[in-house]
Amino acid sequence: MPNRTRLTFCLTLVYLAMIGCGKRTTLVEIGNRTQELLLNNMGEPATLDPHIGIGDIEHNIILSLFEGLVRADPQTLSPKPGVAERWEISPDGKVYTFHLRKTARWSNGDPLTAQDFVESYHRILMPSLGAQYSYMLYPITNAEAFNSGKITNFDQVGCKALDERTLQITLHSAAPYLLSMMYHDSWDPVPVSVIRKHGAIDDPTNPWTKPENFVGNGPFVLKEWRMNSHILVEKSPTYWDAKKVRLNKIFFDATEDSDTAERMFRSGQIHSVPKALPSKVAFYRKYKPNLIVTYPLLGTYFYKFNVKRPPMNDKRVREAMAMAIDRQAICDTVMRAGEEPAYCLTPPNCGGYTCATSLKEDVARARRLLAEAGYPDGKNFPTVELLFNTLQSHKAVAEALQQMWKKNLNVNISLHNEEWKVYLDSLRRLDYFMGRSSWVGDYVDPSTFMDLFLTDSGNNETGWSNPEYDRLVHIASNTGDQAVRYAAYQKAEAILLDEMPIIPLFYYTWPRLIRSSVKGWYPNLLDEYDFTSIYLVPGTN
């Protein structure tokens, strides 16, 4: 009977395997006990240098490792004391005096002084560093001049260390949103002496951010960095508010693929996935609503027109196309994360500013406009290509809109997707008819959106130029009076919506998957974490 024995043996193995491998303790449960937050970070960071990092991937980690003068309140996004314990603003709004706290230190024990900040701003403004976000510091007097090489003496730039713990910043014109601009990594201090030890101060490839060299001033320090795998940071004992920090470690997982990240979430490996795919959103909302949170994000999804290329050069054609679609349907059935239709460039309640729009969906009017432009009922309308970068969600939106234009206006739009870099290149060289685009605000103020369509903005990419628009936006940049600013922006945005170089489609909503054991996290417009407030509750899931 050797066959039967073998059979029994195999079956027993299978049975044992099934019960033996039973319920494993998940990584999330372990993390809850040890206060280790496991976060999916959507990709491998290009760098951890606050002056060089450009995306969310880098920003999330830099948030844990560095701290600027002020920090953002995670619920209201209003400025709270960071390294600066208090500050004064002069009556004309041009001089800010920051008082740094005595207990502020670098992770190697050195005290953090005002001079450190001056040298940090010097570094990011060095033309030779080539920092992409150096323009965030342009409100400072002469910062732009220094950064473009017009002046070479940094003493002329408006930031001074009055003494070891007092930093004074002078602006060329009042900027009411300056403090919220300071949440951005470009305003973070960097340990200049440490950087110099490992190479030139303005060399972007300086290896000072490697774990063995790293020095920062944030609530955590860099412990491990495995490329394309993970970054581990540990609670910093030298952080001035270390008592408040309850997390011991944060594990940033570098998985880029959203499907893989969602599976890891489901399998108990990850506490939170920042962005779930649209198809999963509907699923979670229906079956696991306590694991998903959707909240508005400061961003707009829109299509750009190349206004120099016929038939897009005719304003009426552009308006017709912007009016002949159903944005709500796109939000409800294609995107499905609770996005809101957009009839403006700026998202609503952007620092208290909400644009008063004139754009309305009106198919009848659209058809009339198209006829006026010389294409009655879509006759003779040339083939127009809609350009987008290769991504499932962009394709779905494009396909839906393509059908809407066909049905409502009887025009044929052909879809053309290009690989990412090619798409960027096409936009930059204005080699397109209509192109998908989007913009997420760098800080909470309408200027971050309005600046896009200035004539000389590198991100304009539409060929549209309107001197009155430029004039109004410049007025807003050069005054500190919020009422004047917002009035100017309203007029400017009205011009934009009248000439329609873009079709606003919807405002972003962020669908985040997050376990209920994560406490102290709050959704906000910039999706900014506050790692000093987040903590984990063991025993929940």
Binding site: G22, R263, M264, Q269, K421
Partner: protein, 305 residues
């Protein structure tokens, strides 16, 4: 033998040089560059970055500089990850792909050879059709379907494994199975074909007539000849296995080389692409050489060709 190896080795140098040249010009002439980003950088910053990496020089001069660096084994910096060199990235990621590749190879050889042997011994019976059909499944189901299916079954529903990651020994199982499945299928078919060819020959019939058991025949006579097609196939296949599979690495979150290959091309990370291509090409060439040497050693007849 030694002369043969040396001659083949020397022949690889012009091969690698041509590959490097073709890759260089294709990459540079493709639209889009490493510094194109959604939030466009100002022309001054762009000019500065290009100057830093020498991209502002005339194309032919850049080509010569790159060739010179390559001769010294310096694969250059990465654009996407400033501060990292291509050598560093490959040295970090390759051992992972190597480990995954070996495990997948083991899966492929064990399952493939077993299936092929069984099928060839019991030709045209159920023992032949069933394994061969399963093998066909390995060939006809793309990895980006098989992977998620395996994860869904074994990780999410049965909870035997993590869904992704490369941290614990257990994490190796599903990726190795997914990656190895295709090769197991191929090997099964090749082994079956090769073995059948030998087993149907007269000298085998003689051995059977003389009373030798099938097992003895298989291992003593047939296997040696039947393995030959498998070995020929293995050469380039192993190169692919060991340098990582983009799909498997993406789905299972494995920090290997395969992902860099593809993303480097998409990122226009010029030096990374060159480094990856040459690394892979070098591997293929070396493996082809190893396979040829192995074949010649196993089959003396070939020496005279």
């Amino acid at each position: 033998m030694f002369r043969y190896i040396t001659r083949r080795f020397l022949e690889t140098i012009p091969v690698l040089w041509i590959i490097a040249t073709v890759t260089f010009f294709m990459m540079r002439l493709a639209p889009g560059g490493p510094f194109d980003a959604e939030k466009q950088i100002s022309p001054e910053v762009r000019a500065r970055m290009e100057a830093h990496y020498g991209l502002d020089k005339p194309l032919f001069e850049q080509y010569l500089t790159q060739m010179k660096h390559l001769l010294h084994g310096d694969l250059g910096p990465s654009f996407k990850y400033p501060g990292r060199t291509v050598n560093e990235i490959i040295a970090d990621a390759f051992p992972v792909s190597l480990e995954l590749g070996f495990e997948a190879l083991a899966v492929a050889l064990v399952f493939g050879l077993a299936a092929g042997m069984v099928a060839s011994l019991k030709q045209n019976s159920a023992w032949d059709h069933v394994p061969m059909s399963l093998a066909m499944a390995g060939l006809c189901v793309p990895t980006f379907v098989m992977g998620p299916l395996l994860i869904s079954a074994f990780a999410l529903h049965l909870d035997w494994f993590n869904a992704a990651g490369w941290y614990f020994p257990r994490d190796r199982v599903l990726p190795a199975l997914t990656l190895g499945a295709y090769y197991a299928a191929y090997i099964a078919r090749l082994a079956r074909g090769g073995l059948l060819e030998i087993l149907n020959q007269d000298f085998i019939r003689t051995a059977r007539a003389k009373g030798a058991s099938m097992r003895r025949i298989l291992f003593k006579h047939a296997l040696r000849g039947g393995i030959l097609p498998v070995i020929s196939f293995l050469g380039p296949a192993v190169a692919g296995l060991l340098t990582g599979s983009f799909v498997v690495e993406t789905i299972f979150g494995v920090p290997g080389l395969g992902r860099y290959f593809v993303t480097a091309a998409f990122n226009r990370d010029y030096f990374m692409v060159m480094g990856s291509v040459l690394f892979y090409a070098g591997f293929v060439v070396a493996l082809n050489l190893a396979v040829d040497v192995l074949l010649v050693w196993m089959n003396p007849k070939l020496r005279f060709e």
